[in-house]
Amino acid sequence: MKKIKVMITLCLLLLSGCSASNEIVDELALISAIGFDLTDDNKLQGTITVPNFQSDKTVTTEVFTETGTLIQEIEAKLNSEANQPLAIGKLEVILYNEKVAKQGIRKMKDVFVRDPSVGSRARMAVVEGNTKDVLTREYWTHGAGLYLAEMFDQNFINGRMPQSNIHLFTFALYSKGMDPFLPLVSVGKMVKINQIALFKEDKYVGKLPEDKTFTFHAMKDNFQDATYMIKKEQGEVSAAVNNIMSTRTVDFGENIKDPKITINIRLEGILREFKTEEEVDKQKVNKIEKQMEDQMEQEAKEIIQTLQELNVDPLGLGNKYRGLNRNFDEKKWDEMYKDLDITANVNVIIREFGIRR
């Protein structure tokens, strides 16, 4: 007993300096977003935004930019500018410039994956253009980081964009027979998250345009809520269908050695809006259903063609195939993938077309 008491006393006296270092929340500069660009001399340029909470409840944003070759180097330089120690724990958004993404982002993602204080749900995206431009803009009331985070979230939740974050990207990157993808942010008068950036391994290789996002999402996941535009041949939108529920199944055909892949999409929807003079009735709805099926199948065909040309597999078909095939060989699959017979089969059911009083 005496020994224990002596031990405890010694511990208290000698180890008192070994306590963990404090990180008091209001004494930190909390990084909310990071953007990576390439400078003309091929150096990495990091831009961070730090929300500055004012006592009248408004938020101003401080933006810091530095260049370097390593992220840590940039961070050290940035720290020498900031009034409070930079803390990365509340990182919400990570943006990569197209050029950076083309060079590969494995290393730059790893810095965040290895830091336990960074949440694995931090959103990632590729920017068409300068990330610094995106981060220095004036947004509504929040700072850039929080605004972008909320913008991403609402698009993910409402199904307009398949979800992406550090975790999902890493999962796709290291999965066999699967390639990652990220949302692609376009910068114009407004900053929009509307396209999809396709990756081969960790390198950005191509993109899908805005009007293919819905079909891509339907081929990738079961999802809800987004609205699909049915077009006439001239490209004019004639009807809008809101997705109640879309389920997809992947069928590999009868011979597993020579797979014929069919992606079955079953979509239930509500007809929200339509451009026609006549009254809508059952027959009309059936016609719209058919139109939508054809259009989606056509889009799917184009998507698959793009994917096969780029030899990327963001849909994770290889991963599915691996689950059915004991002797899965990734190299073989890669060779096989380009020439696979992949078709999409869409079945649209319009459940209602509104109620009139």
Binding site: A20, E23, V25, D26, L30, F53, K57, G89, S117, L146
Partner: protein, 506 residues
């Protein structure tokens, strides 16, 4: 030396005094010794042919009994002997004795000594005690809106009456003991023979007999002396001021301890969940009662953990703050010069100060202190930038939550164990909170009440006892007595008959 060390043999014929070497062995010595105290009355009362010598302690004797019942009746010529005297007094338990020890003891418990002559050694002792007690009032600590409104008072006789008329069965046994070298307090142990586990009864009796104390004032003294672990912060005997609660636990097979002079009965063995059950729960619909109990349980957990979690999160784990809350937290903390731990300790101590000041002051001033403290100090300290208003809300809520425990003693415990949690939260963050929670759990696991596990029915898990712990099931489900008590008769009533519908149609 051996001679002195030898204990003097217990001799009923002498009266032992505190000073061990001194004893009174004759009536003359006794009278002289008693007369040293001015409230001892010793006088000659003349009746027609002879006179009576009356001696008694004035503050202990009811003058009306003396005049109306005793002196009125002895004023006759027929009295020639003590025997005649005894027969003429219409009071029970009149004793004729020569035993000095007995005489002294009885004088001190409100008897009147009557003799024919001052030098007589034989006397008659008549019981005429003066009882000045508070009348039965409404329970104040365990107040309930519905249900009985009686509470125990300071007199053990009244208290026994309150219990006995609710439990009119011969099996209700009362064992009385005298505890305290000076106070000679009457302690009664109540149990229902045939239900209560005899082992429990023996444990209580043995522990009470072994008490070595001089002035036993209140039942809480007994709690502290006979608890299984007297150093624990947690009360291991439940105290109650409600006779209805005492009776209902007697029927469950528990033991009730009453102390003369204390308006609180003790209930043993107790378990942790009972401390969060108000007796009013039994008067309400089981669903409503269960909901309130769950709220109470959560408020206790909340009360213990919320400030430590605040300190831990703000000091170490800023990642956990939701992004929408971040702005509120930071803006409210921005002007505060103190680290979260000092801020929290400062506010917690303020609340404790307020409570302590409110409790020590007379009611009317106490209320003012509560308002002044709550509003003025709270707002002022936020405005002065000493504390953040988020923490002010948290601390106030935690304090409020700690008062939801129906048992006052448990409320005190909960308020105090926050502080070690706070300290560890500051030193180690969440790890510290978890660590101190582990200590708390380990301590609770090791606690026993009369040798029965204190954390039962949570650990050891006894599903059947869960029926009346955090959730209260309807009466018809609680047909068995708690397993914790190991009762001699486990069945309370027939489950089959209780659940049978009494409709004529069926």
């Amino acid at each position: 030396m051996k001679l002195f060390r030898k204990k003097p043999k217990k001799n009923k014929k002498v009266s032992q005094l505190l000073d061990q070497s001194k004893q009174i062995s004759s009536m003359k010595e006794l009278m002289e010794y008693c007369k040293e105290s001015n409230d001892f009355v010793h006088y000659e009362h003349p009746i027609k042919n002879q006179s009576l010598w009356l001696s008694y302690y004035k503050p202990l004797v009811e003058a009306e009994i003396l005049h109306r019942d005793i002196l009125e009746n002895v004023d006759e010529e027929t009295i020639h002997s003590l025997q005649d005297l005894m027969e003429s007094i219409p009071i029970e338990n009149v004793v004729i004795t020569k035993d000095i020890g007995v005489i002294h003891e009885k004088l001190l418990s409100g008897h009147i000594m009557i003799r024919f002559h001052e030098r007589d050694t034989k006397c008659v002792l008549v019981n005429a005690p003066l009882k000045k007690t508070r009348s039965i009032s409404v329970p104040e600590v365990e107040f309930s809106v519905i249900g009985p409104k009686e509470s125990f008072v300071e007199s053990i006789g009244t208290n026994l009456n309150l219990i006995r008329y609710r439990l009119p069965i011969p099996e209700l046994k009362v064992k009385e003991f005298t505890v305290g070298n000076l106070s000679k307090s009457k302690v009664a142990v109540l149990y229902v023979d045939g239900i209560t586990n005899q082992e429990n009864v023996n444990t209580v009796i043995q522990r009470i007999e072994d008490i070595e104390f001089d002035e036993l004032i209140d039942s809480s003294y007994i709690t502290q002396i006979i608890s299984d672990n007297p150093r624990s912060l947690f009360p291991q005997l439940l105290d109650t001021e409600r006779p209805d609660r005492a009776v209902s636990v007697l029927a469950e097979g528990k033991i009730v301890i009453l102390v003369n002079g204390s308006p609180h009965a003790l209930i043993a063995p107790a378990n942790l969940t009972e401390f969060f059950a108000a007796f009013e729960d039994y008067f309400l619909n089981p669903i409503i009662a269960s909901a309130f109990r769950i709220i109470r349980f959560f408020s206790v957990v909340f009360s213990i953990l919320v400030t430590p979690i605040y300190v831990a999160v703000l000091t170490y784990h800023y990642e956990l703050v939701p992004k929408d809350l971040m702005g509120t937290l930071i803006t409210s903390r921005e002007v505060v010069p103190l680290p979260p731990i000092l801020e929290a300790v400062f506010l917690e101590l303020t609340i404790e100060l307020l409570r302590e000041a409110g409790a020590r002051l007379p009611t009317k001033v106490g209320q003012t202190i509560g308002i002044v403290g709550g509003i003025v100090i709270g707002t002022a300290s936020v405005e002065a930038g000493l504390t953040s208003n988020v923490l002010l809300i948290i601390v106030a809520l935690a304090a409020l939550a700690s008062f939801t425990t129906p048992v006052y003693k448990m409320g005190n415990t909960i308020r105090l164990i926050r502080f070690p949690f706070l300290l560890f939260a500051y030193l180690l963050g969440f790890l510290g909170v978890v660590l101190s929670f582990c200590f708390l759990l380990a301590h609770l696991l090791r606690l026993t009440s009369l040798g029965r596990p204190f954390l039962e029915p949570i650990y050891p898990p006894r599903l059947k006892d869960m029926k009346d712990s955090v959730i209260r099931f309807p009466f018809s489900w609680n047909t068995k007595r708690p397993i914790q008590l190991q009762t001699e008769k486990t069945q309370r009533f027939s489950a089959k008959k209780a659940r049978k519908r009494k409709d004529i149609d069926e």
